[in-house]
Symmetry: C2
Subunit: 407 residues, 2 copies
C-alpha cells in the first residue's frame, strides 16, 4: 500500500459522495411514482408489448434520474477541493475543470437524449448526439493535456515500437467510444429492467476496479471515477426499483445515453477506457451479433425484442421473415455462417426463411427455451455479472502479457 | 486606451466567435422550419390564440436554439486559450473552469426548461429550476474565489463603511438573480416575437456595454461576456426570424430560461450583475406591476396576454373580472392605488369590477389603443430599446455619484 492509502484525503470525499448518493437514492425512488401521472398527461408514454393487458407506461424516466444525478453532483462539486481550500495549497484548477467538463458532457447527453425520446429522432441523429455531447470533453482534453500517445501492447512492439502518437485519431477514438457506449446499451433493451440492470452491473464493476486501484499511484483518477459512479448507481437503483418486472415506468433512450456517456466520461478522463470496454463484453457481443440486421444485410423488423406467448405467459424469441430470393449474396453468407455456427434458429420452407432476430436476448430464449420476463431479465443480469468476472480475470492476471504491470 | 487594446489577444478570439456565430445563425435559421413537423408529430405545439384561424404552432423551439448555441460554444472552447498554448505560458485553468461552468449552468437550464415545456411543471417548480441550474455556478464561484465582499455605494458609506462582506447572502443574491432573470422574461410574453425580441435587445445592450469596457483593465471579463452573448444573439435572431408575427414557431419556456440564465451567468461571472439588471428595466417594471396578480391579491386569469378583437383584427387589453365583495382589503387597496395613479383601466358596475390585467403589454394597449400584433411587438421593442438607452445614461454619467469610477 502506498502512503496515501489511509489518509482522509482519499476516504472522506468518498464517504461524503456515498452518503449523498444514499440520500438521493431515497429521494429519487420516492419521486418517480409521483411524477408518473405528469408523464402520462404529457403523453410521454408507451405500451408494454410484453404484457397481457395493454397499459400506458410512462417513458423517458431517465430524465428524472439524470436530473437527480446532476443535483447530487452539483452539490458535491466543492467537496474534493475542501483539503486544497483548507490547507491553502495550490488550487487544483485543472481537476475542477475536468470535473465540470465531465458534468457538462453528461448534462448535454441527458438533454439530447430527452429530446430524442420526446421528438423521436432518426437513426442518424442517434449517432450524432453522443458526438456532440463528447465535444466539450474532447475540447477540454485538447487544451489541458493533448496527450495522444498510447503505449503499444508488448506483442506488437516489434511493429510499432514502445509507444505511438495517435494524434487526431485519438480524438476520433474517444468520440467513437462515447457513440459506442451510448448505443450499445440502447440496442440491448426491450425487457423490463434490462437497460438499468446492465448499467448497474457495469457501474458496480468499474467501481470495484476503482477501489482495487485506489492504492496505486494513479489513485486520484480512480477516486474521480468513484465520485461519478456512486451517485449513478444510486439513481439507477431507484429507477430499477420501478422499472423491474412488472415495469411501472420505462427508462427511455434518455437513460441509455446518460449511462453510456457516464461510462465514456470516466473511461476517458480516468484514462482506463480499455478497461471500461472490458465490462461491455455482452454489449460488444450483442453489437457484433446484431451487425447483419443493423446494417440491413438481413431484414430487420422495427422491434427486435422478444414477444409474449399469450397462452403460456412466457417470452419467446421474436423472428424476422423474408423470401430467400430477396436476400443479397452477403445476406445469404451471413445467414449461413450464423446457422453453421449454431448461433441462430433458422428454418426454411417454400423459399421463405424465418430466423430469430439477432440479439443475445433472443439467443438466450432460443437456447434456454421460453422464459418468464422476470426470469429472462435475471438470466441476462447473470450473464452480465459473469462477463464482469471474466473482465477482471482478463484485466488482472492477463494484462501482464500485454503491458508491463507495475505490481 | 490601455496597452492591451490593440493586441490580437483581444480581437482574434472575438473575431472567431462572431464568425462562428454567423455560420450558426444561418444553420439554425434553416434548421428551424425543417424541425417544425417533428415537433407537431410529438404534439409539442399550441394554438396561437391571437390569430383568426386556429392553427397548431410548434412550441419549445428554444431547445433547438439552445442546442445550436451549445454546439457553437463547445467548438469555441479551445479558442480563448490558443495564445496560452502557443506561448507556453501558465495555462489559465481557472478561466477554463469558469467557461465550462457557465456552459454547464446554461445547458442544465435548457434541459430543465425543455422538461418544463414538455411536462408542464407547476409554478413552484419554475422557481426551483433556475436555482438548481445556478448551483454549479455558485459552487465553482465558492471554490474559485469565494469573494463575497461588495463595495458600498458612496451615499451609504456612512452607514456601512467602504465595503461589506455579504457572506452567504451573496450566494442567495446570485441565485435570486438567476430566478429573476429567467422568470422576468417568462412573464413578459404572449405576443409573437416578444420573448426573443426583448432578449435580443438586452443581449445587444450588454454586448455594447462590454465593447465600451474592453479598453478597461477588466477587459478579460468583458471579452468573456462577448463570447457568450454573440452566439446567443445569433441563435436568437434565427428564432426571431420565424417567431416574429405571424409566428410559425413558439420559443417556449425553454427559451426564456435559456436567455435569462445566459444573462445571469455573464453578470455573475463578469461581476457586473447590477449593470445587467439595469437592462431589465421594462421587466422589473412589468414584474412590480404584476405583483398584485402574481401573488393573487387581485384575481389572475390563466392567460394575461392581450386578446384579439375578431372584428377589427386588433389586439386589445385582456381583463380580469371579480365581485367587489370578494376582494381582500389588501386587494382593494392595491386596486385603489393602481386606479389613483392612472396605471390601469378599472370599471365598476353593480358590484362587479373589471380591470385590465396588470402587464405592461396591456398597459400599452390601454394607453395607446388597440394595436395590430406586429405593431404591438414593435412598440414593446422600442420601449425596451429606449430603456436600454436610459440604462446607459444611468450607468455612465450617474454611476460616479454612487461609486468612484476610474475614468
Amino acid at each position: 500500500m502506498a502512503g496515501h492509502y489511509y489518509t482522509p484525503e482519499v476516504w472522506i470525499p468518498i464517504f461524503i459522495n456515498v452518503s449523498l448518493s444514499l440520500v438521493f437514492y431515497i429521494i429519487t425512488s420516492r419521486l418517480i411514482p409521483k411524477l408518473a401521472g405528469m408523464f402520462i398527461n404529457a403523453r410521454i408514454c408507451g405500451i408494454d408489448l410484453n404484457k397481457h393487458q395493454s397499459v400506458q407506461v410512462p417513458e423517458a424516466f431517465g430524465v428524472v434520474a439524470g436530473c437527480m444525478y446532476l443535483i447530487v453532483m452539483f452539490l458535491f462539486i466543492p467537496v474534493p477541493f475542501g483539503s486544497a481550500v483548507l490547507q491553502n495549497s495550490a488550487f487544483p484548477y485543472h481537476e475542477l475543470a475536468k470535473l465540470v467538463t465531465a458534468l457538462l458532457s453528461i448534462c448535454c447527453m441527458i438533454l439530447l437524449g430527452f429530446a430524442d425520446d420526446v421528438l423521436n429522432l432518426k437513426w442518424r441523429h442517434k449517432l450524432l448526439l453522443p458526438t456532440v455531447a463528447t465535444l466539450p470533453l474532447l475540447m477540454v482534453y485538447y487544451v489541458i493535456s493533448n496527450s495522444t500517445i498510447i503505449i503499444v501492447p508488448k506483442p506488437l512492439r516489434y511493429l510499432f515500437g514502445f509507444s505511438v502518437d495517435l494524434g487526431v485519431l485519438y480524438y476520433v477514438y474517444m468520440s467513437l467510444l462515447a457513440v459506442f457506449c451510448t448505443n450499445a446499451i440502447n440496442i440491448l433493451a426491450g425487457v423490463n429492467g434490462l437497460e438499468a440492470g446492465q448499467s448497474l452491473v457495469i457501474a458496480a464493476s468499474i467501481v470495484l476496479f476503482n477501489f482495487c486501484e485506489l492504492s496505486s499511484d494513479l489513485w486520484r483518477t480512480h477516486q474521480f471515477s468513484i465520485f461519478f459512479l456512486a451517485p449513478f448507481i444510486a439513481v439507477t437503483l431507484a429507477l430499477l426499483k420501478h422499472n423491474w418486472y412488472p415495469a411501472k415506468i420505462f427508462v427511455g433512450d434518455t437513460y441509455c445515453y446518460f449511462a453510456g456517456m457516464t461510462f465514456a466520461v470516466v473511461g476517458i478522463l480516468g484514462i482506463f477506457s480499455k478497461t471500461v470496454l472490458l465490462f461491455f463484453i455482452p454489449q460488444v457481443i450483442n453489437f457484433l451479433y446484431s451487425v447483419p440486421q443493423l446494417f440491413h444485410i438481413i431484414p430487420c423488423p422495427r422491434h427486435r425484442m422478444p414477444r409474449l406467448n399469450r397462452d403460456s405467459g412466457m417470452l419467446e424469441a421474436s423472428e424476422f421473415k423474408c423470401d430467400e430470393s430477396s436476400l443479397s449474396p452477403l445476406g445469404k453468407l451471413c445467414l449461413n455462417v450464423v446457422e453453421k455456427l449454431n448461433l441462430a434458429r433458422v428454418t426454411r420452407k417454400d423459399g421463405t426463411i424465418v430466423g430469430n432476430n439477432l440479439t443475445i436476448i433472443n439467443f438466450v430464449l432460443v437456447k434456454v427455451g421460453p422464459l418468464h420476463e422476470a426470469h429472462l431479465s435475471a438470466v441476462l443480469m447473470t450473464i452480465q455479472i459473469l462477463c464482469s468476472g471474466m473482465a477482471f480475470l482478463i484485466r488482472y492476471p492477463l494484462a501482464s502479457i500485454f503491458y508491463d504491470v507495475p505490481r
